[in-house]
């Protein structure tokens, strides 16, 4: 019995069969046919105000669920507006499906209205993309897209669908798993680590006197937080969690050193530098972690676990490369180490190393100068209070800049998938749409977006989406009237010559703007207003809330490894700098 349906019906049915419950999108000419069968579908559609918002919402959704977020937009300008979210998702390995409309196949190449070369433009910012050429191809291409986006190293996949392919009739057929795999002869991600390499890694771990577990986003992608904890406790080894891995290991755990890197804390940075063995689990030796590569962890041997073979040796040559899924590999590592210990082997004594590390922790806690009476509010203080008053399980999203670093530094992450940010691409304006996507996926959780005044002005219009669609999020705008991180660089490295970083102290009026978008707006100017404002925001659950904190524009993010320098040259907070010899 062959069933004839339109390509558009096939597309929506295929999404339903892939268990999609939410689509973030905005219709337009070429994608119009797909929006008709959507009316009859149980899939929830969130109508955004700008396509970039749909993309970041899909990312936020994927961040907190691990399931691919889906964005549906039209051709031309809608497709180009998706380039930033696609690139963002590609850099941070976020599973995402983006469906774009395209001009009819007969018009492709004629510079038709709202035509652009979507697959050409997005080729380098997607894990894969595909131009549909007939309605019959739709189910297979959708299945391929979900398979590719969610297996191996996750990433965004774009499907470009010409209008006639949506309108034409096709014979419905839902491909089997075998058909999908056969159609992709060049795609066979390896998930299981090589057993000999795992044994070698276990040997290095037991022999190391100064080990550090260097944990990246891959641990979260592999849903390996529990396994990681088992490994860390088994080998009693300190853990650093990169910006993408915050929450993969509890900050309150005695083995947790926090975030390393350009704005990491002194202990995490120094422990990596002095280590004799870095156990890299799903991280990629990003330049924001290594600083100057030639001086990075010079005495460390490297175990590198990554599902993407191309990450092995891309920046730092590993002594033991293990290609595989972090969860499966860590499980095998734990098993192998336990067997070796049961056979009478002993782990090297790391107590001297651990006391050295705790010495650094005592000397160099995260620090900021609390504000004196009459002084401007400190952004770090706001973050501390936000965390202190946050309901259990709160998800924190952030934009990009100083407020992002303060968030990572001063929030305490206790469970995985409670931190959503743009790490690799550094997309300003990420937080509000990402927070909306996260809230749609986890309506049971409180979702706070921490934003800067620069970031807020890039994507704030999505708060209208949040109000209309009844997705109550909370936004903390740390308003210092500056592009704060750029200002910090100009102060420190350009002799305080401030060029085009001053926004405006009075404009926009964030409270009025919030109210105009259907949100509650609150302005906070002094430390004593901070707690009541946050408590009020936390008590409002029927609409979104924007709290504007007027914060000290002169505040800088410390520690800081200046660009181009090695991690040994980390600049500490001025109040800690006299003790820096202690780090040598």
């Amino acid at each position: 019995m062959t069933e004839q349906i339109t390509g558009a019906q096939a597309l929506i049915r295929a999404l339903e069969l892939e268990n999609v419950d939410t689509i973030f999108g905005l219709p337009g000419g070429c994608i119009l046919p797909a929006y008709d069968p959507l009316l009859d579908s149980h899939i929830r559609h969130i109508l955004v105000r700008h396509e970039q918002g749909a993309g970041h919402m899909a990312e936020g959704y994927a961040h907190v669920t691990g399931r691919p977020g889906v964005a549906l937009v039209t051709s031309g300008p809608a497709a180009t507006n998706m380039v930033t979210p696609l690139c963002d998702a590609y850099m941070d390995s976020i599973p995402m499906i983006c469906i774009t409309g395209q001009v009819p196949t007969s018009a492709i190449g004629t510079d038709a209205f709202q035509e652009c070369d979507t697959v050409g433009i997005t080729r380098s910012v997607t894990k894969h993309n595909e131009l549909v050429m007939s309605a019959d191809e739709i189910p297979l291409i959708v299945r391929q897209a979900f398979h590719i986006a969610t297996t191996g190293r996750p990433g965004p996949v774009l499907i470009d669908v010409p209008k006639d392919c949506l309108q034409n009739m096709m014979t419905w057929h839902w491909p089997t798993d075998e058909e999908v795999l056969e159609s992709l002869p060049g795609y066979k991600p390896n998930t299981k680590g090589h057993s000999r390499m795992i044994k070698e890694a276990a040997r290095l771990i037991l022999d190391s006197k100064q080990p550090v577990l260097y944990v990246g986003g891959g641990v979260l992608k592999a849903r390996a937080a529990d396994t990681l904890r088992e490994l860390a406790e088994l080998i009693n080894t300190p853990v650093v969690t990169t910006l993408m891995a915050r929450g993969a290991f509890p900050d309150s755990h005695p083995l947790c050193l926090g975030m390393p890197g350009m704005h990491g804390n002194a202990t995490a940075i120094t422990a990596m530098q002095k280590s004799d063995l870095l156990i890299n689990l799903g991280a990629r030796f990003d330049d924001r972690i290594t600083g100057k590569v030639s001086t990075f962890a010079p005495d460390a041997k490297i175990i590198h676990v990554d599902i993407d073979p191309a990450e092995q040796g891309k920046v730092r040559r590993p002594d033991v490369p293990i290609v595989g899924d972090c969860r499966l590999v860590i499980e095998e590592l734990v098993k192998t180490i336990k067997e070796m210990l049961a056979n009478g082997e002993v782990q090297a004594d790391i107590s001297a190393w651990k006391s050295r590390v705790s010495g650094w922790q005592e000397q160099f806690p995260m620090y900021y100068s609390p504000n004196e009476p009459g002084e401007a509010l400190k952004p770090q203080f706001c973050l501390e209070k936000l965390h202190e008053l946050a309901p259990a399980g709160t998800i924190l999203c952030s934009g990009v800049g100083q407020h992002q670093m303060f968030s990572s530094q001063f929030w305490k992450f206790e469970e995985p998938y409670t931190w959503v940010n743009s790490g690799g691409l550094g997309t300003m304006g990420f937080s509000i749409p990402a927070a909306i996507g996260a809230k749609v996926a986890r309506p049971d959780r409180t979702v706070w977006a921490v934003d800067g005044d620069g970031c807020f002005q890039m994507t704030a219009q999505e708060l209208v989406t949040a109000s209309v669609e009844r997705i109550p999020i909370k936004v903390a705008v740390l308003n210092n009237s500056y592009l704060g991180m750029v200002r910090q660089w100009q102060e420190m490295f350009y002799d305080e010559r401030y060029s085009e970083v001053y926004l405006s102290p009075e404009l926009p009026d964030f409270v009025k703007w919030a109210e105009a978008m259907g949100c509650v707006g609150i302005r906070v100017e002094s430390p004593e207003e901070v707690e009541p404002a946050i408590a009020l925001a936390n008590s409002i659950n029927d609409r979104s809330v924007v709290v504007e904190f007027r914060v000290d524009a002169g505040e800088k993010v410390f520690p800081m490894v200046p660009a181009g320098f090695g991690n040994d040259d980390v600049l500490l907070h001025p109040n800690q700098n006299d003790r820096r010899e202690f780090l040598r």
Binding site: K127, G186, K188, G313, K314
Partner: protein, 183 residues
């Protein structure tokens, strides 16, 4: 693409034979990857294989532009790439085709014809003040021929980029990179 790698001594280039699914845009994916990652292509040739589902792309890469291992791994990340073999230049046969139009007065034409004969080339067209010749052979041989023609004044010259297969002697071998690790 202007320099020609030397094939006789230590290889200064790698030959990658890349089997891809024969689909729209696959060449753009491959060449785009080289451009984006800053790898240098000396030459590139594409054609369908004995199985029309697949095409073979022969890419000659400068050894110094990036570690070969990284290039191969990045190529594998392309979903349409099915298999990559590295052909050792010392253990493979390489061929290229060149066509050249040379400005030559009728009294000197005989010299060019003689050169073409020595190199086992072909005369494709003869005009009053120019002659078009073709030569198929190893890239070295083409280099030598091109050098000699230059003395006469080359009007136009076109080379195809090389294609290669492993030699059939005892030591013939390819190094297939099994595509079990793409991600």
């Amino acid at each position: 693409m202007s320099m020609t790698p030397n094939t006789t001594s230590m290889p200064s280039h790698h030959i990658l034979s890349v089997l891809v699914q024969n689909r729209a845009g696959v060449l753009a994916r491959v060449s785009g990857l080289f451009a984006r990652r800053g790898y240098n292509i000396f030459s590139l040739a594409v054609a369908p294989t004995e199985d029309p589902e697949f095409s073979r792309i022969t890419i000659v890469v400068d050894v110094e532009s990036a570690p070969l291992e990284q290039i191969v791994k990045q190529l594998f990340k392309l979903i349409d790439v099915v298999k990559i073999s590295e052909l050792d230049p010392r253990r493979s046969v390489e061929r290229e085709l060149m066509m050249a139009t040379v400005r030559v007065a009728s009294e000197d034409r005989g010299q060019v014809v003689e050169l073409a004969n020595i190199f086992e080339g072909k005369i494709l067209a003869v005009g009053t003040e120019a002659i078009t010749v073709s030569l198929e052979g190893s890239p070295d041989k083409l280099d030598d021929f091109e050098e000699l023609l230059r003395g006469y004044g080359i009007v136009e010259l076109q080379r195809t980029g090389r294609v290669a297969l492993p030699k059939l002697d005892k030591e013939a071998r390819t190094r297939p990179h099994k595509n079990g690790k793409a991600s």
